[in-house]
């Protein structure tokens, strides 16, 4: 019998709901073994956060992982405080009784310097009664950890680019750049880099965010690892597992047809189709090609606009003035003509007066998962024919 997997949409898939991403997990694993700090790059909805949780939930290779979501942080000191407090809350770390004990009794010199942690019953708490320099506090904690523990600690910082944007918006570019430098120097400090690894990721591109402030040097130590879409057999496997949970099965030819239709196998699109397939099919009747077409039709239809609308609305945030109109122009033309060759992208750049930056715009569109260069390296196409259809329907 087909094993089942719940169709979790919008949330990171965890535990049994996580589809094993062997390639990505191995890549990250290898980088961690090489003592790299990492930035995970991928378009949205490919499954970055789920992979991070997988490391943490499974405690892969005996490391300790702490997942920290920093999207609500708009201040440097607050950022380090958040890291510190999440480390203190982490159940896995609490089990390392030696380290915990030293933290409590001050037997380690570095840990002894920490002033913001107080003993509360059997646990430890941050005490905010007086102001602290949390970067220093965190540094001391991590250095103490490095001295006391044999296993590695991996800090997984999610939505990091949003934090940068938050700081930028609240305090300006300089504050954000200082913040980035602070992060870099912390992770490179010799007293912690032996045992502590950092993984950064986020739903907007870190490179792009940093490049806008001319501060790429602050992240050039990070090893970029990209998360790819699923392979065909993986996509089919995921599809069947998700359908099994809905008490549905699919005819082989319909499965092949579905793969042909979606082309770009990111879990999110497969999840959306499964949600729709459950609606258009009935129990005990295997899903056929017509149902697949109907489900995809429904997705392109209005009600799913909320799931695709971001492809459109984020462009406005990402690009300004002529760059924006160029991006719209190019996406419209690719949607209408299925593919657009390189020469034409330049023509359109001239039309929109963006000859200087058009290559960068195309790169961003590629990174964000709109389009890709075909294997002959000559023409651009949409990654997802569904997004393409949606684009034709609403923006052409």
């Amino acid at each position: 019998m087909q094993s089942k997997m719940r169709n979790v949409i919008g949330q990171p898939a965890r535990g049994d709901d996580f589809y094993p991403r062997k390639r990505e997990v191995e890549k990250i694993e290898r980088a961690l073994r090489n003592r790299s700090n990492i930035q995970i790059t991928a378009p949205r909805r490919v499954g970055k956060t789920s992979i991070l949780w997988h490391f943490q939930d499974e405690q892969l290779s005996g490391r300790d992982y702490v997942y920290i979501d920093t999207e609500a942080i708009a201040d440097e000191n607050e950022f380090y405080r958040k890291l510190l407090s999440e480390i203190l809350k982490c159940d896995v770390l609490k089990k390392r009784t030696g380290f915990w004990e030293k933290l409590r009794n001050g037997a380690n010199e570095r840990l002894k310097k920490i002033k913001s942690i107080t003993i509360a019953g059997v646990g430890l708490e941050l005490n905010d009664k007086e102001p602290h320099n949390y970067r220093e506090e965190l540094h001391n904690l991590l250095a103490g950890y490095a001295e006391e523990e044999n296993s590695e600690l991996v800090l997984q910082i999610d939505e990091f680019p949003i934090t940068i944007e938050n700081i930028r918006n609240a305090q300006g570019d300089n504050a954000a750049i200082v913040f980035l430098h602070g992060n870099r120097s912390l992770r490179m400090s010799p007293d912690i880099s032996t045992k502590v690894r950092f993984i950064y990721t986020g739903s907007i591109g870190l490179n792009h965010t940093v490049a806008r402030m001319d501060a790429t040097a602050t992240i050039n130590d990070l090893n970029p690892i990209s998360v790819e879409a699923l392979s065909g057999p993986e996509a089919l496997d995921l599809l069947e597992k998700l359908l099994a949970h809905e008490d549905r099965s699919i005819l082989p030819e319909a499965g092949d047809h579905l793969l042909k239709m979606i082309e770009w196998y990111i879990p999110f699109h497969i999840q959306l189709i499964v949600q729709e397939l459950a609606g258009v099919s009935v129990w005990a009747e295997p899903i056929d090609i017509a149902m697949v077409d109907q489900a995809i039709g429904n997705i392109v239809d209005q009600r799913y606009q909320s799931h695709f609308e971001h492809y459109y609305s984020r462009l406005k945030k990402q690009f300004k003035a002529n760059s924006y109109s160029y991006a719209l122009h190019i996406l419209k033309e690719i949607a209408e003509k299925d593919r657009v060759d390189k020469a034409r992208t330049f023509q359109l750049a001239q039309q929109n007066e963006v000859e200087q930056e058009y290559k960068h715009i195309l790169l961003v569109l590629e990174y964000d998962g709109y389009i890709h260069l075909t294997s002959d390296n000559q023409t651009y196409r949409y990654n997802s024919p569904i997004v393409k259809r949606w684009w034709v329907k609403y923006y052409c």
Binding site: V8, A72, Q302, R303, S306, R314
Partner: protein, 651 residues
């Protein structure tokens, strides 16, 4: 109207569960997920999107009860319901405080509120309060499932960082699960940088299907003890249920409101109750409008007032907004099920309000009040609700009551205006209606002239004298072609019958205003009788017909003397001459109008007859040339006849 219609969570629990008959599939799917999710990791959060009245609160309440009644779930999962009005919440920390209060009051979390109070004043109060909540939950081994009815309203109260923080919590803390409802897909959900984006699994509560509608109506019938009526409707006039569904957009609450109108089967006072129903839906519908951003309100206003599908181009001219902007707003309105697209097969679609009853309400409330437009909402309702047969039945009833004076003036006036909008009813009924409504409404009842001869003929064949006279009394101007057709109505009935009819028509002239139809009838019948009686050599009827004919021509100087009358006179004269009634013929020819009009025709004819030269005739306008030739023929015949019998029979 029960207030519980708006507050399903206040209904009696047992009754509530019993009444929950639609949306069961969504309910089952959600319950399956809730039962299988152990909340070890953060679980899937849901957003139920549906119009106000679509059943969000009902569904949330049903889930809450199901959890409380489930022997396993109730041991570890606590449902917490946030009502639609969340006036007491202004920041994220208030949410944790509220939950704490609820837990202390209903779930034995002793002292949690006091513990939370101690934290007040701390800069990180929200974090500290939340941590306390989680600590207490862990200690008790319980988890929470939050039901937030209108999440958009709640999120609006939070600042950007609070929203992000909430998302962070829901994404990382497994002890709390959220099932939210929203009448619209809120803006922040669509904005890439807004943290709530794509966070939920969205379930759209669409309008009920036909099958679901029947289920709901059967349940309502049971509750209202009207099972028999509803079964009859389902069996005999299933189309009516479909109409109700379309009208209400399949929104359960509207369907429930319209239930009385439905079960009345259209023959009682249901329509009079309609205003009450419209009153009852006002809070629901007003909210819907209030939910929309200003620009969308503006667009909806125009779409609703237009009733019929409208194009973007028309909207541009009426709103003076850019078409791009309008398209973007329309997209959202369509997505939120407020507006519907009507495909045209071309690129430019048309848009209309998806829930027709909402549109009717809008017209009633915000439509123009000055002219007859003020009743348009009722017209639109009846157009959707009744088939033509029923509308005709109602109009007949109206005419009957109005002629008997059984209706008060206000109602009489209102329905006169309402019925004046229906174009598809039978012409004779329209004609009757036209004579029954107050004078100022009459001009709005348009009758196709082509229909008149046909209706007259029907009554004539059926020998329905009243009907015939009724139509004859309608005061509308008719064209030459129509008069010709009216003339063909009469066949070769015995002269006696025609004579009676003529007398009746003539007496109508006495009692009613003179009008085109009546006069044409008398003229045509006069000619018919004349011809007939001459052939049958019945001088009594010749005289009768001739007098009628003369009368009909001379009755009212207001009746325009035109080509038709000329033609008629010529034919009449021809017949009289043939029959030897020369003096009758002469007096007709001498009718001043005729003689005057044909002065130059007469000269041309004379010239032709004396010189055998048609050049003068050819100069006449083509439309009177035919008459001229007829005259020449008459003259030729006349010359011979007059020559032989100077006096003739009629002298």
């Amino acid at each position: 109207m029960s207030t519980l219609l708006y507050n399903p969570d206040r209904k009696n629990r047992k009754q509530f569960i019993e009444e929950f008959v639609v949306r069961t599939e969504v309910f089952d799917a959600l319950m399956k997920d809730i039962r299988t999710g152990r909340m070890k990791h953060p679980e899937q959060h849901y957003l139920l999107v549906g119009q106000r009245g679509a059943g969000k609160t009902t569904l949330l309440t049903r889930i809450r009860y199901a959890i409380e009644d489930d022997p396993q779930l109730k041991n570890w999962l606590i449902p917490v319901m946030f009502n639609e009005e969340q006036y007491h919440i202004s920041e994220l920390a208030n949410v944790w405080e509220n939950i704490a209060e609820y837990l202390q009051d209903y779930h034995d979390f002793a002292g949690i509120c006091e513990e939370m109070d101690v934290l007040t004043g701390r800069q990180d109060f929200e974090h500290a309060a939340f941590d306390l909540l989680i600590k207490r939950l862990n200690a008790s081994g319980k988890k929470l499932i939050l039901f937030v009815d209108n999440i958009g309203d709640l999120l609006k109260k939070f600042d950007d960082l609070e929203v992000k923080r909430l998302r962070e919590i829901l994404q990382t803390i497994p002890q709390i699960r959220l099932i939210a409802g929203s009448p619209v897909v809120f803006e922040s959900l669509l904005d890439y940088h807004q943290p709530m984006f794509e966070f939920f699994k969205i379930i759209t509560l669409k309008g009920l299907s036909s099958e679901e509608s029947q289920t709901l109506l059967r349940k309502l019938a049971k509750l209202n003890k009207k099972e028999k009526e509803i079964e009859t409707i389902i069996r005999e006039t299933p189309a009516r249920i479909e109409t109700l569904r379309v009208l209400s957009g399949g929104v359960p609450r509207t369907m429930a409101l319209l239930f009385d109108v439905l079960s009345d089967n259209g023959h009682g006072n249901a329509l009079l109750d309609l205003e009450k129903v419209l009153d009852a839906v006002t809070p629901l519908y007003k909210h819907r409008m209030d939910d929309l951003p200003t620009q969308q309100q503006k667009i909806v206003d125009i779409v609703a007032k237009n009733w019929d599908p409208i194009s973007v181009k028309q909207l541009v001219s009426k709103t003076r907004l850019e078409s791009k902007l309008i398209s973007a707003q329309l997209r959202q309105l369509v997505q939120n099920q407020v507006v519907e697209i009507q495909e045209t097969g071309k690129k430019n679609h048309l848009y209309l309000m998806s829930e027709r009853f909402y549109n009717i309400w809008y017209l009633m409330r915000y439509g123009r009040k000055q002219d007859r437009q003020r009743v348009i909402w009722l017209v639109k309702f009846m157009e959707m609700w009744c088939d033509v047969g029923e509308i005709e039945e109602r109009i007949t009833n109206y005419i009957d009551k109005s002629t008997k004076g059984e209706m008060n003036e206000k109602v009489l006036e209102m329905y006169a205006e309402v019925y004046s909008f229906f174009e598809k009813v039978k012409p004779e009924l329209k004609l009757k209606l036209k004579s029954a409504v107050p004078q100022h409404v009459r001009k709005h009842i348009e009758i196709a002239e082509d229909d008149i001869p046909e209706i007259l003929e029907r009554f004539y064949q059926k020998q329905d004298l009243d009907g015939f006279l009724n139509i004859a009394s309608i005061d509308i101007p008719i064209s030459y072609e129509c008069k010709l057709k009216i003339a063909e109505v009469f066949n070769n009935e015995p002269l006696e019958a025609h004579s009676k009819l003529l007398v009746n028509l003539m007496s109508s002239v006495g009692t009613q205003n003179v009008n085109d139809i009546l006069i044409s009838l008398i003229q045509a019948l006069g000619l018919k009788m004349l011809r007939h009686s001459i052939v049958l050599e019945e001088p009594k009827y010749v005289t009768e017909a001739f007098e009628g004919f003369i009368n009909a021509l001379g009755i009212n100087p207001l009746i325009e003397w035109g080509r038709y009358e000329d033609n008629l006179i010529i034919r009449c004269v021809y017949n009289l001459v043939c029959g030897g009634y020369y003096s009758y013929a002469k007096s007709l020819v001498n009718l001043s109008n005729f003689a005057k009009r044909y002065e130059n025709v007469g000269a041309a004819v004379d010239y032709f007859l004396s010189n055998n030269d048609n050049s003068a005739l050819m100069k006449l306008a083509p439309e009177i040339r035919t008459e001229a030739w007829t005259m020449i023929e008459i003259m030729n015949v006349g010359k011979k006849k007059f020559g032989r019998h100077k006096a003739g029979r009629g002298a």
